[in-house]
Structures are given as structure tokens and as C-alpha cells.
Symmetry: C2
Subunit: 238 residues, 2 copies
DNA sequence: TAGTGGTCTAGACCACTGA
DNA sequence: CAGTGGTCTAGACCACTAA
């Protein structure tokens, strides 16, 4: 086995893990530059980056494109069985949520969106693309697709708000059955650019298919979460 | 932006993705050696490995330690709300499950296990370590921790079976409430060795805390899944 | 503008796998 | 035993960030 192999990469990981665990590097804090670290550990940048990559996989640190490496803040608990929305969920856990709208418009529906929402071919759908932050950190890229017949004029509202609340207050529509699908994968190029992170960074893709109180398919969305930003909790009753 | 950057890594990824999508590389099939591929794409092994790493993050390919790179088979659907167990779940999806027991013994409980199972300090717990396969591929490393007072003599049974079934048939114990916690992270060194994969490979860690029909905490377990082996489905009723 | 991370080159040695 | 992946060295240039 390689149990006792004192690999350079392993040693660097352990050293940094220890520093973080003991609070010498604060959550959100920035690590020294790669060149400084590789000098410190007496190795090359390639080797050092291998170690950083492993810590990133573990969710201990994350990178911002061309800005450097930072210590990951604690994860947010995400409970699909609890009817909540981003802002409420984040605030309940003592963190600060923020949303920005990237684009919002009527677009021709892609084939897979038609299929999922049960729309005829060549339909139009309302697409809303948003980015969301926790404590200022970009953690989530979402694309929402709404069946336009249920939401006339929705593009005129303030879409930084919770859609859940907007549906309820302006359209009298409430969520009914919801189907979640969660896949550990990498960030989509679009999502990577938006979240200002490296292409191919690990991510959790959550797709939701939402029905209303009359069991009509009203919208679906695709969420790309930074993989170190959440953990998914499910309480199964019985 | 770097949108139009014709990066070598991106080009390699796209090329391999296309080959896989068109079925020229079959699920489970092995890729050519890294040296052959780097020659083919006229680049260095370092660059090629960067591309392979991204495809691994996406869950398109996986590696077996020192054996090479393979195309990932389709993911298994994992539904925490459905009371099932590994063998049934896998078989229902037309795949072939297998289990091997690594170790099974009474051990002093670690502090976090005591806390989770509500055991007094310095208790003994039954620890069962298992590895599980789908269609021959190692995909899951699990550690089970059982409150020994509910399961006298359990170490004498065939532990390659489903514990769920064993609990029911031999002890009259059925699962009641269950709490799941799912975290995208990297494989534990132990898990990486067992699954014969590189340390720091991406993984989904699922921890379960199980109660019985009388709401007593009976066991908990820690599962490390290869991140490309499953997707988690949750149907929320209402 | 200085320094950073992103990307890439061109090698090397080792332990291990599989024929 | 040949070939493989795992690991590491010692550089380089570029685009971008932050001052």
C-alpha cells in the first residue's frame, strides 16, 4: 500500500488542514500566493497546486478566478423537505443572502425544457438567470424556466426577490409537489464564469421540477452550487 | 472573458466527450494510456491529466489506481425517501450488486459516534466496514456503527447480506425515522484505498442516523460514494 | 506596473500491473 | 519485464487583478 508514503502533496495538505483547523486561517481568509507557498513547502507550483486541488475537493478551501485561494466558510444546510426559499434558508442560519439577476426574458424553449415542463415543441418559456451569494461569496448559479401561461407580466416585477413569494403574492400560486434531482458534477462553463471560478470546479447540480397546488407543472430550475457551500439534510419520518 | 480561448485542455475535453457521447468509448471501457493520449493530442502528460481530471469531476470518466482511466457507467438513482437497501435498489435498476465485508468487530466508540448514537463515554460499538460494487465496479465504502445492546450475536451472521433484512428477520427491528446528511467532498484515505482510487478523488459522503419502530437510535453509518455513481432523487409530496 | 493565478512545456524516477 | 499511472522537478509566457 501507499499508507506510509510521505508524499509531498499529503504533507502539504496536512499542514494546511492543521492551520485551518486551529483557526490560524480564518474562514473567508486568503491563503498566501502559490509562489510563496511553494517556496515555503520547498516544492514546485505544480505539486503545490495538486495539494490545493485536493483541499478544494474536500471543500476546505476554494478559489476565485485569478484572485487566489480562500478558506471555505461553513456549509449551509439545505433541506428539500422544508418549503423554504434561498433568502429565508440562509437568514435562518445566521448568514447574509443576496441575489442578482443576470438575465430575464422570454426564450425559445430547449427540447429538454419542453419535455420537463410538458410544453409543446417550439414553445416560448420565461428564462431567469440569477446568481446568489452567502455573506458576499458567490455560491449559486440558477436558471429558472417558467411556463409563461401561468405568469403573465412576470418580467416586470423585481426578480431579485424570492420567486416563491412572487408566485404567491401576485399570482396566487403555491408550490405543491416538487421533484429534486441532485448530482455531484462539475460547474457548467456558464456557471463557472458567473461564479468567477475555474472551469471544471466541483459542484452540486440540483434540478427541481415544481408543481402548484393544482398539481400543474409550473416551472423548473437548474441550480449549480459550489460543492463546498451546502450539505443536504433529509429527515425521513415514520 | 475567456469564452473564446481555445485552451488545449478544453479541446481535449470536448474531443473525449464527443467520443463518449457517440458511443465510440463504451461505459466501463478503458481509455488509451496517458502517454498515447498526450501524443495523440500533441501535448504533455501534465496537460492531458488536467483534462482527464476535469472529465472525472464531471463524472464522465473515472480512474482505478494505477490501472488507468475508464468511462463511467450510468448513475444509480438513490432515493432517501424510499425504504430500500443497496441490493434491492441496484437490482431494481437492472444492475448487479455485490457486497464484501472488510472487517466486523466490537470496537471502542469514537467520541462522535457516541454522541450520535447517544451512548455513554467509552462504550463499545459494533463496527462493520464493507465495500460494495455495481456491475463489478467498486462504488461505495461504508462504515456501520451499531448499538450492541440491540443486536447480540450479530457478528456471527453473514454480513454480506442487507443489514435491513437481518435486523428484521433476526431481531424484529425495523427502521423508523431516518436522518440523512449528504456532503459533496473527497474520499477519505481509507475509502480511497478500499475503492482503489486516487486519494482526494471527489465523493459524496452520506451519513445516516437510523431509529427503529420504537424511535430508538439503533445504528448510524457513513457511506462514501464515488461521486459519479449516483444521483439523489427526492419526491416531495403535498 | 508588479505580482498573481492560469496554462503549458519537457523532461525524470518510482512502484505497480498485467502479460 | 515492458508499460502504466503516480509523483515530482524547473522552468516559461500570458492575461488579469489590485495597488
Amino acid at each position: 500500500m501507499r499508507d506510509e508514503a510521505p508524499r509531498a502533496v499529503t504533507a502539504i495538505c496536512r499542514s494546511l488542514q492543521e492551520q485551518i483547523a486551529h483557526g490560524l486561517l480564518q474562514p473567508g481568509g486568503q491563503l498566501p500566493s502559490e509562489r510563496k507557498l511553494s517556496e515555503l513547502f520547498d516544492t514546485t507550483r505544480i505539486t503545490l497546486r495538486e495539494a490545493l486541488g485536493q483541499l478544494e475537493s474536500q471543500g476546505l478551501i476554494y478559489r476565485e478566478d485569478r484572485r487566489g485561494w480562500f478558506v471555505s466558510p461553513p456549509r449551509i444546510a439545505y433541506n428539500p423537505l422544508v418549503r423554504s426559499h434561498f433568502h429565508a434558508m440562509v437568514r435562518e442560519q445566521g448568514r447574509l443572502p443576496a441575489t442578482e439577476v443576470l438575465t430575464a426574458r422570454l426564450v425559445p424553449a430547449a427540447a429538454d425544457i419542453c419535455a420537463r415542463l410538458g410544453l409543446p415543441a417550439l414553445s416560448g418559456v420565461v428564462q431567469i438567470r440569477r446568481a446568489r451569494r452567502i455573506d458576499g461569496r458567490l455560491v449559486l448559479y440558477v436558471e429558472h424556466y417558467l411556463n409563461p401561461s401561468y405568469f403573465p407580466g412576470i418580467l416586470d416585477y423585481d426578480l431579485t426577490r424570492s420567486l416563491t413569494e412572487l408566485y404567491a403574492s401576485e399570482y396566487g400560486i403555491h408550490y405543491g409537489r416538487v421533484r429534486f434531482d441532485m448530482v455531484p458534477t462539475a460547474l457548467d462553463p456558464e456557471a463557472a464564469t458567473t461564479l468567477r471560478t475555474a472551469p471544471g470546479s466541483p459542484a452540486l447540480r440540483i434540478t427541481r421540477l415544481n408543481r402548484d397546488q393544482h398539481d400543474r407543472l409550473i416551472d423548473c430550475d437548474v441550480e449549480y452550487w459550489r460543492h463546498d457551500a451546502i450539505h443536504v439534510c433529509v429527515e425521513v419520518p415514520e
